[in-house]
Structure formats: structure tokens, C-alpha cells
Symmetry: C2
Subunit: 333 residues, 2 copies
């Protein structure tokens, strides 16, 4: 007997049941009475849901990530696990890889373990086609789904997002202000986060009266040498560019290596901007200007939101955190 049974039987959302439990005034009297009646009928004890009591819960959160050896996701797991532990929750980690089939299998596995919630770390879990996300939406009627830098609309689905769009917009604007006009954008993924970064790039160009040329937008594997080789290839094929904006620091490292190989001077002849402000950004000479996507803040906020859900609070379904532009030696600004 739990909050989901009450929600189902009362024909209202879990958030509404939470609000009733929490004495939140944003519920009509009619609904409140109905929910309380159902609770009474089902013999539901709100305490079961209270944090820390551990009654009817295994105090364990499932964490899914596509690849824990990716530095961004490795940090995300670290911060999520630390914050969950501080709240007396265990975590079961699943590294899913990128295929939708495996993601679904792991998701179902976690559900079968009766975890108290599932955290999807990274923006790779939300597919472009709505029907491919139906398994997540359906599960959310039974347990909270937390998305770290991903977004999916739905009751009992909570997103904590980095404002990637504003971040790339700001970076491109600064590149333009410092004299760059032919800004190449290297990106790794069409994920929610990837799409937003792209929008920021496009918006900034248009906002400064520059045109968007599709050959300046290049998809690249998340790999240092692949990025270097792609840039060498574009260079040799005659494409002119005076800046490289990337969706990941590894690509920016590749851009520095391209500049060294092609004999281009950084930042006078070529500016470079990375993403994530990872250790990679300080491995090269010159060190790389990078967008700090605030992975720690995203993860701690995700866990705090989840604890709010467990406590029956009225928590936001979408929280956005601003990124920072960390200026180093690969840009003139």
C-alpha cells in the first residue's frame, strides 16, 4: 500500500497526493476530501512515505548512466552517490551503454528491485521520438524519475538542467566580440543537452547578424584524435575558420592538437572553447577556455529535489542552473 495506489484509486496525480499529505493549499477541497477518503479506505499511512523511516522502502535509488568511464558522468555518479549517502540512501549503479534496448532492460531491472526512485544521469536517456520514452513515462506512475540534464514532460518526472543554450550563446557572442567570424561548431550528440547547445550557437550567430552555414556545424565522435583529424581534414579541404566551439572538452583538446599540427597560432589565428571545464581543459598548452556545466550543482540539486518528493513537498519539476564561462588561454576574451 503506497502513495501510488492512492493516486491511482483517487484518479489524481502523485504530486496531488503529495500536496494533500503535505497540507499544501493548492488543492481543491473536493480533491483533498477525495484523496483523504481513499487513504482511509485503503488504510494508507502517510508515515510509510516519510523519509528515513524505511518502512515499505528499500532506501535505495537506481542510478543509470550510459558510461561511467566518461569523465562528466564519472563525476556525476560521484556527486549523486555522495549526496544520496548523506541522505541515508544507497545507490545501485547501472552502466547501460547507448542502445535503447539495453537502457530499457536496465530500467526494468531496477524497477524489479523495487528501488525508491530512478535517476537517469546525463542527457542520453531521452530519445527524440516520444514513443521511445513511453517506458519512462509509464514507470513514473509508480516511482519518481529524476533526470540529470535531460528533460521529459510528465507527472512525477523531475529535471535538473544546465542552461546549455545560454552558455553556448554567451561563448559565441564573446568569440564574435573578440573578432571571430567563422566559428566552427563541433558537437558529439543530438541529445537534449546537445540540441540546446546547438540552439545557443545558432541564436548567437543570428543575433549578431551572421549567417549559419551548415558546413560549419560538424558532428564528431567524443574522441581527442577523431576531433583533431576531422579539423585537419576540413582545413585541408579548404574550409576557413577562425574559432572552434565544442560540446565537450575532449574535442577542444583535439582542436588544440589540430592547431599544433597545422601550425596555427592560438588564440591569435584560432580561438577554441571547450565544454565541461574538466581536467582535460588544463592538460594542453595553451590551456582551454571552457564552459563549466556545473555537474556538482546539478547532482546535489537532483538529490535534494528527490528528497523533497519523498517528503511530499511541492517541488519544481524543472530546475535550471546557469553555466559559467571559465576563461583561459585559447580565446582572446
Amino acid at each position: 500500500m503506497n502513495i501510488y495506489d492512492v493516486s491511482k484509486k483517487a484518479g489524481v496525480s502523485i504530486a496531488t497526493v503529495s500536496r494533500v499529505l503535505n497540507g499544501n493549499p493548492n488543492v481543491s477541497d473536493k480533491t483533498r476530501t477525495r484523496v483523504l477518503d481513499i487513504m482511509d479506505e485503503l488504510g494508507y499511512t502517510p508515515n510509510v512515505f516519510a523519509r528515513g523511516l524505511g518502512l515499505g522502502t528499500i532506501q535505495t535509488i537506481g542510478i543509470m548512466c550510459s558510461d561511467s568511464s566518461d569523465p562528466y558522468l564519472a563525476h556525476a555518479i560521484y556527486y549523486l552517490e555522495r549526496e544520496l549517502r548523506a541522505n541515508h540512501y544507497d545507490s545501485i549503479l547501472c552502466c547501460t551503454g547507448n542502445s535503447l534496448e539495453n537502457k530499457r532492460l536496465y530500467f526494468d531491472l531496477l524497477r524489479s528491485k523495487k528501488v525508491d526512485a530512478i535517476i537517469l544521469a546525463g542527457s542520453k536517456f531521452i530519445e527524440p521520438r516520444a514513443k521511445d520514452n513511453a517506458y519512462i513515462t509509464e514507470a513514473s506512475s509508480e516511482l519518481p524519475i529524476m533526470l540529470v540534464n535531460g528533460y521529459l514532460e510528465g507527472d512525477n518526472i523531475y529535471s535538473t538542467l544546465c542552461d546549455d543554450r545560454s552558455a553556448t550563446h554567451q561563448a559565441v557572442s564573446q568569440l564574435i566580440s573578440s573578432g571571430c567570424r567563422r566559428i566552427l561548431y563541433l558537437f558529439t550528440s543530438y541529445s537534449y543537452s546537445g540540441t540546446n547547445k546547438m540552439k545557443g550557437y545558432r541564436d548567437a550567430l543570428l543575433g549578431h547578424g551572421l549567417s549559419i552555414q551548415e558546413e560549419y556545424i560538424q558532428n564528431c565522435e567524443k574522441d581527442v584524435l577523431a576531433a583533431r583529424d576531422l579539423l585537419l581534414h576540413l582545413h585541408q579541404s579548404g574550409l576557413q575558420f577562425d574559432a572552434v566551439l565544442t560540446s565537450d572538452d575532449t574535442l577542444a583538446v583535439g582542436a588544440v592538437k589540430y592547431a599544433h599540427a597545422a601550425g596555427r597560432s592560438i588564440p591569435d589565428d584560432l580561438s577554441i572553447v571547450g565544454y565541461n571545464n574538466s581536467i582535460y581543459s588544463i592538460c594542453t598548452d595553451p590551456e582551454i577556455t571552457s564552459i563549466d556545466s556545473k555537474v556538482e550543482a546539478l547532482c546535489t540539486t537532483t538529490v535534494r529535489t528527490l528528497m523533497g518528493v519523498f517528503n511530499g513537498g511541492n517541488v519544481p519539476t524543472r530546475t535550471t542552473i546557469a553555466a559559467d564561462l571559465i576563461k583561459r588561454a585559447t580565446t582572446k576574451f
Copy 2:
């Protein structure tokens, strides 16, 4: 009722009970009879222990690591989780930090969850003083303890090790053969692995008739810029060195940055060798010669050994895997 109760009551090791269960001939008739009698007396069903049945077990392994955002450990977690999953085991991850007190707290927490085994990932869990490891040894009478690149003697404790000593010995020998005589060693830790790397360095110098000078052995924080600054400081204080061997790629990246800052030519004037063959080793120009410490092989072997223990097999308590020296552009060999 489990194999540990049988072991305790019979006054024999768990390995011996495993051997009896497995029909292994390396058990005396007297002991075999005694163990089988105790099993009978206690009503022990060997099937409970059989893999995959999940009877009397939660099919969950505790993984402890000091810091999942460390790239080496992040990869270790990835490979451990993947291999456990392939064997139908879940994992509960704990990131402990470096204090002994917290390590003990997390260890006890995992035991209270009745996990089927605990994997200690990385060599930071074994302390120099035996009494500080007593909590591990004591726990091993109740569940298998698996060490990834750490070593502790004890029944039901299994170590999978990289041959770090031979690896640094080989690297130093090759540096000497290529003309280096003043080889600085930068290391991060006095762990089991750290101690073995040090031994390899010392043995190789002595084996080539070179003396060991303590000012050529420097402890350094695992941080790119800390390594760069330490080398700049040593350089400015007049220490002459023609090679830098490091216990971690991040320090080797710092060494490349030092060389750039000090205007030293790599590898003609300065050779550099990293450790772990991580992505860091290809981020710099020139790219870094590095010792591949075989983290994937270590982790898959650890899990396979554990499955052998669960199956009652006669498994080795210590398995050593050879490292590889990956030659790139920071050395003359």
C-alpha cells in the same frame, strides 16, 4: 545457515568447505567427513550457495572506491559493474574518500546490507599498519573480500594485481638504455601499488649500477598543475634531471607542461613516462609514453575470481597481470 556457519562450526577455512562442496581431492578424508557431518547437523544445503539461485543471498556486491571521479577508478567501476551485471549481480557503490574512519564506516554499512561480497577497488584500502586492516581480515570470515590492485594476506581475501614493480623496472631500464641517467620519480601515494612502483624504480637504477638519490624521489599531489609547479621549483633550485617517471598520467601531463614552461625539448632534453595509459596521455603534444596498467583485465579477473569463490572452486588468492609499456613521443625508445 550458510557456508560461513559450516566453516566456523567445523573449525576449517571457507576455502576448505568450498573444496568439499566442489569435490576437490585436496582435502583429507578426515576433514571431508567432518565438514559433511557438520553440514548434515546444521541442515546446510549447498544449493543455497550455488550461483544464480539467489537463495539466501541478495545477489548484490558492495564496491568501495576512494573516489569515483578519479579516471582510473571510474574505469574500474565501469568494468566491475559490467562484469558483475553479466553474472547477474547488482552492485552497491560507495565512494569513501581517503580517511580510514570513513572507509570503515562504509565497509560496515555494506556488511549490514548483507552484500554477498565486498570489492575494494584501487590500492588505497590497505593500510601500512596491520591493525588498521584488522576490520577487513575479520569480515573475511563472513564474506569474500576482493582487492583490485591491493594485497592483504588472509583466508577468503583475493587479490588481483598489476605487476607495477616489473612495469616501472622496465620503463626505467629503457630510459637508461636510451641515455637517461638522472631520472626523477614523481609519485602520489605510499599504497601497495605505489610501493611496488617505487621498488621497480629503485631496483632498475641499482641493477644498472646507478645510485639512488633521495632528492630524485618526490611525492606529489595527483594534480596536473601541482606536478608542473613542483618540477619548475626543483628546476629553479638547481636539480638536474633528464627524465621524469611518474606514478600517474596526470603528473606526466604536468611534466610536459613544465618542459614547455622551462623551454626544455621533449624527448631530446627531457624524457617523460606516465602511468595508466589514460586519455590524458594523448592530450598533450608530444603525446606521452605511458604504462598500461590493464584496469579492464584486473576488473574482469576480479569478478571471475569472485564467481569462482561463489561456485566453491579452488581459486587462487593472488593473481598478477603484466602491464604494457605504450611507447609514444616523450621518450627516445
